[in-house]
Every structure is written in C-alpha cells, then in structure tokens.
C-alpha cells in the first residue's frame, strides 16, 4: 500500500510536468503558425498607397484623367513629380521640385510652362529654365502608357 502511495506521489508531478511540456509544445506550434501566417496575410493585403521604387512608379492617374494643357502632381518615392499633358496632347513628366530651393512647381496653363511660385522660376515643357533664379533644368522622367496605366521611370 505504502509503495503504491509513493509511486502515485511520484507519478503526480511527473504527470503534471509532461502535461506542461505538451502544453508548451502545442502553444509554441500555435505561436509559430501565427508568426508565419501574420506576415503572409499582411503581404497578401496590399497597402493603401503603392510604394514606388527609386526608378519607376505606376501612377494612380489614368491617361484620360489628364486633359490637354493641364498637369497633375504625383509621388515619385518621397519626391513630388508632375505629369503634364501638353496642348498638343503629349504626356511628359518631370521632377516637381524646383532646382532653386525645392519648392513644388505647378503648371501654368496660361503660359504653357511649369512655374515655381516661390521665386517666379519658369521652366519650359522640356524642363529647361526660361526665366528666374533656378540654376538648372528640372529632372525629366520617361512616360510610358500601358493601356489604362501610366508608368513613369527615371531615364536610364
């Protein structure tokens, strides 16, 4: 009788340790699955705004949204770009950071030029300085229209 009682006392904690190890394994596997599934889920759900690379960006603007003799600002990485449709209907894109003091340039439909309001700098539709203090032309990007999408890239 005494032997049985001793073996039961010994089996109790052993049983409890085994249970703990089994619980530990079960929760760890569960945790591991969560750790794998969470990033996979986050990866499958796209972010609200697309992240652009340093070299190319697909705009959320459709070609027909840009009327002739108008322009729209877009994000190129963390820098502003400006997409212009010339009066002749051609799409052109430039960096929208003025080369003088980095103000954001805008399109003047009355002049057909890109204009920096900060110090009255003017650029033509090739990005060249035509008036004012900017010391160098605007960086020019390559525009490709693929169906409904506009893809803007840095010139290689």
């Amino acid at each position: 009788m005494e032997r049985d009682a001793v073996s039961e006392r010994a089996a109790g904690p052993r049983q409890s340790r085994r249970g703990f190890v089994n619980w530990l394994l079960g929760t760890s596997v569960g945790g591991l699955l969560l750790a794998v599934l969470y990033p996979v889920t986050r990866y499958l759900i796209p972010p609200e705004t697309a992240e652009s690379t340093a070299a190319t960006v697909t705009l959320s603007i459709r070609p027909e949204d840009v009327a002739p003799n108008s322009a729209q600002i877009f994000r190129f990485g963390n820098q502003p770009g400006i997409l212009v449709r010339t009066p002749a209907g051609e799409l052109r894109a430039f960096s929208a950071s003025c080369t003088h003091l980095s103000c954001i340039v805008q399109y003047r439909d009355d002049l057909g030029r890109l204009w920096c309001a900060c110090h009255n700098g003017h650029f033509d539709l090739n990005g060249r300085v035509v008036q004012g203090p900017p010391p160098s032309p605007l960086e020019t990007f390559v525009v490709n229209v693929r169906g409904d999408q506009i893809v803007v890239s840095r010139d290689a």
Binding site: L24, L32, N78
Partner: protein
C-alpha cells in the same frame, strides 16, 4: 563741350578714310602687314600679329586694314601712307568710333551675327566711362579695348574671353581694384574683393551657375554706371522678381525712397551680398531690422513676430524631418510622409519670401500652411515609430516562443529516450 567737339571733329578727320565698314571677303588672305610685322616676333610690333590669330575678327576674315587702314597689297612702307587711308594705332577716343563703324550698323552686323546688339556706342555715351572720355577728355577711362583687348577679342561665350561671365569681375577689377589707378576718382576700390565673398560669385564660380550676376548685370556693360538709389530694386528684381514686387508694394519702399536708402542694398549690401538667412530678420545679433527698429516700436514687433513664426515653422520642420529620418533608418516605409513634408518646404521658402512684404499676416498665412504639413508628417513619423516598436515586440515574442519550443522539444525527446 569744346573738348567734345574737338575730339569728335578730329576723329572724323582721322577716320575719314575708314568711314564705311570694311568688307571681309575683299581682304587678302596674307597681308603685307602680317609679312613684315611677324618678323618682329614677341616684340611690341610683332605681338599684335601673333595675338590676332585667335581673335574673333580674324576668324570672320577681317585683316589689319579693317581697323588700321592702309594698303595691304603694297609690300613696302608706303602701305602705311595716310593717303592710302592708314591711321595707325587709333587714339582712345577714336576707338569708339572705329568699332562703331561696324558694330553700330545693323545692316552690316547681321551678315556676321544677327543676334548681336548694335547699340553699344549709344550706350557707351550714357556710361560714366563714355561721359568721362567724350565729354571731359579723360583718356584713363575704359573704352572698347579696355574690356575687349585689341587683337585678342573673343566672344563672351569663350571661357578665355575677358568678358566671359567668369572673367568680367577680373576685367573690371583690373582698374577698379587698383587704388593707385583709381585715386583721382575718389571711389571705393574694394568692390572686387567684396564681390569675391558674395553669394553671387560663389554661385557662379563654385556651383557653375553662369546666370548668377557679375558686374555688368547690375551696372550695365557698355552703359556702365552705378545703379541709382531709386532703382536698385528694379536691378535686383531682374532675378529676384517676387521679392522686388513685394518690396515695391510695401511701406518700406516709400520710406527708403524718402530717406535715400538704396532699396534692397540697405539690408543685403551691394557687392558683398551674403546668402540670406533667417538671422537677418528680427532684432538680434546679425539682424538688419535692428538698424532702424527697436523692441517696443511697431516695426520691431512685426520683425520679431515674423522671425518667431519662421523659427516656429523651421523647428517643426526639423522635428518632423528628424522623426521621419529615424523611422526610415529603422526600416519603416515613410515615403508618403516625406512626400507630404515637401509642402512644408514650399511653405517655408514662401514665408521667407513673404518677409519682403513686411506684413505679419502674409508670413503667418504661409507658416500656417507649413505647420499643417509638418504636423501631419510628424504624426505619421510617430505612427511609424510606433509600428517599429510593435515589430520589435513581435520579434521578442516570436523569439521567446521559438526558444520555448526548442526547450519543450528537448524535454520531450529526453522523456522518450528515458521510456525506451
């Protein structure tokens, strides 16, 4: 007036034989002048021949007789017979008329350079140099060849030209920076030294911006004269148009005119114009408003208010930029927030420009727009850093789970080994 008449009539007589512009095509490819004078080598009589080979006029086919007259077909000394129209080396006052024979003729000049202006002589007559020479007979002042060295004239686009933008200050300084030469005129001779320290020269010489101004952009070239006190703003406004417009409409423009202060130069100097920074604004050390205003007067209060607004936007911009940089370095994607911060850059530059209206409201309007952009950017930065902390915490929890899994597996394996 008497001197002017004498100079004018004398020049006309001397240049009588050269009244019409020369015809480059009619000149000989090898003139007798060159044959003889080249024999002098580097000596004064041979030097012009050597130098002239690189002159723009030589490139266009003009020879010695175009300016000096004479008969280049005559191989003897009689080639230099005044009867053959030879005038020798023209006097300084004759040089203007001599050059003007061609350069003042639109019909003639369009054959060589249709875009070149033809009003140089007319402008020269209005310049301080021209008035000194033609009205007062002062032959020490600059004439055409003072800036465009005879026999080695090059177009301004040529980097070796004395009138290339990078060389203009040196050319003007060859007289104006020489205290001994300028002594009779009692004008400062430190302009070149001061200009060499200016932001304009820095832009041109270090950053390669040839559109930055040099002497002639503010003083005129052929009509060179100091800008009048009342029109300094117009001169600076050729490039700094927005500031000039705001200043022109401001109360300060009228007061400066009344006091005889030279517009922009009152605060920004004239030759040693530094890079304008926020330190110029306000009443502290280095601030120019304190030259007239003091704490307590309304102008001083506006100056302090504008400075405080700009400092505030600057501080908020720095804070937002710093937190976004921290988040970006930590590997969090913040390009959207950095993109938004560009609006604050525009607002900050616009606020600094609006200072020239001397209106607190105008500056405040720009600053408010900037603060809205910095506030959004900062909040996004905080959000990004929060996400970074969550990711770190997640990593710690994952590592703990993995370690627990390893420990559990180790114990399980040991138990199985004991049972077997």
């Amino acid at each position: 007036m008497m001197i002017r008449v004498l100079i004018g009539s004398g020049s006309l007589l001397i240049l009588g034989g050269l009244a019409a512009p020369p015809d480059a095509a009619a000149q000989m490819p090898e003139e007798s002048c060159v044959s003889c004078h080249s024999a002098f080598g580097d000596a004064p009589l041979g030097e012009p021949v050597q130098a002239y080979a690189a002159d723009v006029h030589a490139a266009k086919g003009f020879g010695c007789v175009a300016c000096h007259g004479g008969d280049a077909e005559d191989p003897g000394m009689s080639a230099m017979d005044p009867a053959a129209g030879y005038i020798g080396a023209p006097e300084r006052d004759e040089v203007v008329l001599l050059c003007g024979r061609c350069h003042s003729s639109a019909q003639f000049m369009r054959r060589y350079n249709p875009a070149l202006r033809v009003d140089q002589v007319a402008e020269y007559r209005t310049s301080v140099h021209g008035q000194q020479l033609l009205e007062r007979g002062d032959e020490r002042v600059a004439t055409c060849t003072g800036c465009h060295p005879a026999h080695s004239i090059k177009p301004p686009s040529d980097p070796n030209s004395s009138v290339n933008p990078l060389n203009v200050a040196e050319t003007c300084g060859s007289c104006h920076a020489d205290p001994e030469y300028m002594a009779p005129y009692a004008i400062p001779t430190d302009q070149h030294e001061k200009y060499s320290e200016s932001v304009h020269w820095q832009m041109m010489s270090e950053e390669g911006d040839l559109s930055a101004p040099t002497c002639n952009d503010c003083h005129g070239n052929h009509g060179a004269a100091p800008p009048g006190v009342g029109w300094v703003g117009n001169v600076c406004g050729q490039c700094h148009s927005v500031m000039a417009e705001l200043f022109g409409k401001s109360f300060h423009a009228r007061v400066f005119a009344m006091l005889g202060n030279p517009g922009c130069a009152t605060c920004h100097e004239n030759h040693d114009i530094g890079r304008a920074g926020d330190e110029l604004l306000g009443l502290g050390e280095g601030a120019v408003c304190g030259m007239c205003h003091s704490e307590g007067d309304s102008g001083g209060e506006v100056a302090l208010g504008m400075r405080a607004l700009i400092d505030s936007l600057n501080a908020h911009y720095e804070a937002a930029d710093s937190i976004l940089a921290k988040a970006e370095n930590a590997g969090i994607e913040v390009s959207e927030a950095l993109f938004g911060l560009n609006e604050a850059t525009t607002a900050l530059v616009s606020a600094r420009t609006a200072v020239h209206s001397f209106s607190l409201d105008s500056v405040a309007e720009q600053v408010e727009a900037g603060l809205a952009a910095t506030s959004t950017a900062y909040a996004r930065g905080e959000e990004a850093l929060g996400e970074f902390l969550v990711r770190r915490l997640g990593l710690a929890v994952s590592v703990a789970i993995i370690l627990a899994l390893i420990a559990g597996l180790f114990l399980k394996i040991r138990k199985i080994e004991q049972l077997t």
